[in-house]
Amino acid sequence: MKLLTLPERLGLISYRNQAKSEIKPHIRVETEICNTVCPHKCTTYVCPANCYTLDENNHVHFQVEDCIECGTCMYACDQGAVTWEFPDPETGRGVTWNFG
């Protein structure tokens, strides 16, 4: 069977409040820490939704839109850069699983 790319996989997910232009992020990342002291920048590869990416200067960027609330980054980041909360049902993002 055809193997899916990550964007194809994320395209199958039902996110909440998709119609809202402004959402309140439920995760805050101090990328300053990632880009100065972090020896591994692991969130850029362990995140199952690839919410953490590296630019051409090897700087970490974070976007919350694709987050599926799995929790991985909260444990993987051992530098104190990730502040993790659950998304607000009204104003936040996050998922509604169709199968789960």
Partner: protein, 441 residues
């Protein structure tokens, strides 16, 4: 809602719903709060509910045509894989065909919603049919404390009060941490990341391919190259017209090896043996969630405070000792035990820490903590690289030689095994592993 509840439960997963069902049946006035759009909306599992506790919660659930479970398990398979081969232990028996089943496969979005409906039915039949509620779309942000005792919860600007709070918020247990029962930062050591796909087939195709009969189902766990050398394993479960296929990956090891979980999942799906098993379907969902390893060091020391109990995976109650990944059954039983503690507390009007402590005692005396305590060596053995890397390679090396028939004199199996051991490990290493294994199981 100005009045006070007997109990507020945070989280409508398996643990929270089991607690709610038990409270409803014992005429306790409760509020069950769920942050998702409906019970199950945010929940992901492998997922098999092992054991027979579900029948206690929903008697004769197997007679329910619209039941939320997918298939009962009568076929188990444990597969060791290397890069090109798969060597399985396979067991199927009629013995598993009669209810109460010894395991049912579920999809949480459907199962939890069904179970929540059953809880609604129990509420309707209770003395508090108008005063107990399941409230969805509400995020609990804080456990309200008075001194050392929990007295309620806060969501936004609203506060709800109760004699007791049960935290059943799942593995990402922010409230448990806030209550000081677990460290604010939990390191990756005893945490795995699970990734999974749901693949849909025509039902007859699925049933033929996996030799399913009626609502029978198969569970297949994988050890070895499934994870590309990362600590952990794989799984495949048959649902009604889909399969759940995925991996659980030790997060610390994933971090050290600098691999992406979705890449490893694609490699697993492309494995020559897996590829044939899953061909033709259509992926309908991709999901991910962290899961506890079952290492006791990851479990909070205390699961209670005055007026407060923690159950299910919020308490990191989960274990894979090689036989099965047990989590949802632990959630169910711990939810029931928490509710029973509260029923007793209410009858005595005693919500003190001494009363709440009984929950931990009951948990320790239950099969959950007995198994977790007894099988710690097995948990650690499964996370030993010899076990998840060398043993599967060795077994498959042997399998290739043993099952290859050449038109030339054949070596004795023992000699073949010797070669396989030499190629991937050593007798000394295996003796050490065997001793550990014999002790642990």
């Amino acid at each position: 809602m100005d009045e006070k509840f007997d109990c507020i439960i945070v989280g409508a997963g398996v643990a929270g719903l089991a607690a709610a069902m038990t409270l409803a049946r014992n005429n306790i006035k409760f509020l069950l709060i769920e942050k998702g759009e409906f019970a199950g909306a945010k929940n992901v599992s492998g997922g098999v509910i092992w054991g027979q506790d579900l029948a206690k919660l929903v008697p004769e659930y197997w007679k329910d045509e619209e039941a939320g479970w997918d298939r009962f398990i009568n076929h188990r398979r444990l597969t060791f894989i290397d890069e090109e081969s798969a060597f399985s232990l396979d067991f199927k028996s009629r013995h598993f065909n009669e209810p109460p089943y010894s395991g049912v496969i579920v999809l949480r979005s459907k199962f939890d919603r069904w179970l929540a409906n059953k809880v609604e039915d129990a509420i309707a039949e209770s003395e508090y049919s108008m005063d107990s509620f399941i409230a969805t779309n509400i995020l609990v942000e804080e456990i309200l404390m008075e001194g050392d005792k929990a007295v309620g919860i806060r969501t936004g600007d609203e506060k709800f009060y109760a004699d007791n709070v049960i935290i059943a918020e799942g593995v990402n247990n922010l409230l448990t941490r806030q209550a000081g029962l677990q460290d604010k930062y939990v390191p990756a050591d005893h945490i795995l990341t699970g990734v999974k796909e749901i693949i849909r087939y025509e039902r007859s195709v699925l049933e033929d391919r996996f030799q399913l009969n009626g609502l029978s189902g198969m569970s297949n766990e994988f050890v070895g190259y499934a994870t590309r050398g990362v600590e952990g394993g794989g799984f495949l479960y048959t649902n009604r017209d889909t399969i759940s296929i995925g991996l659980v990956l030790g997060l610390k090891d994933l971090r050290d090896k600098e691999l992406k979980p979705y890449d490893i999942l694609n490699d697993f799906k492309a494995h020559p043996v897996i590829k044939d098993t899953i061909r033709g379907g259509e992926v309908v969902e991709y999901s991910a969630h962290v899961v506890s390893s079952g290492d006791k060091r990851g479990i909070p020391e205390k699961l209670y405070k005055g007026g407060l109990l923690v159950c299910g995976e919020a308490a990191n109650l989960l274990m894979n000792a090689g036989k099965a990944i047990q989590g949802m059954d632990y959630a169910m039983r711990s939810g029931i035990l928490a509710a029973e503690t509260i029923i007793e507390a209410k009858s005595k009007n005693d919500f003190s820490i001494t009363q709440m402590k009984k929950y931990q005692g009951n948990l320790n005396n239950s099969y959950i903590m007995k198994d977790i305590n007894n099988f710690q060596d097995a948990v650690q053995l499964l996370h030993n690289p010899v076990m998840y890397q060398k043993v599967p390679s060795l077994i498959n090396h042997f399998g290739r030689n043993f099952f290859t028939i050449k038109n030339e004199p054949t070596k004795k199996s023992r000699e073949m095994m010797g070669e396989s051991v030499k190629a991937h490990s050593s007798y000394w290493e295996l003796i050490k592993l065997g001793l550990k294994g014999a002790r642990s199981l």
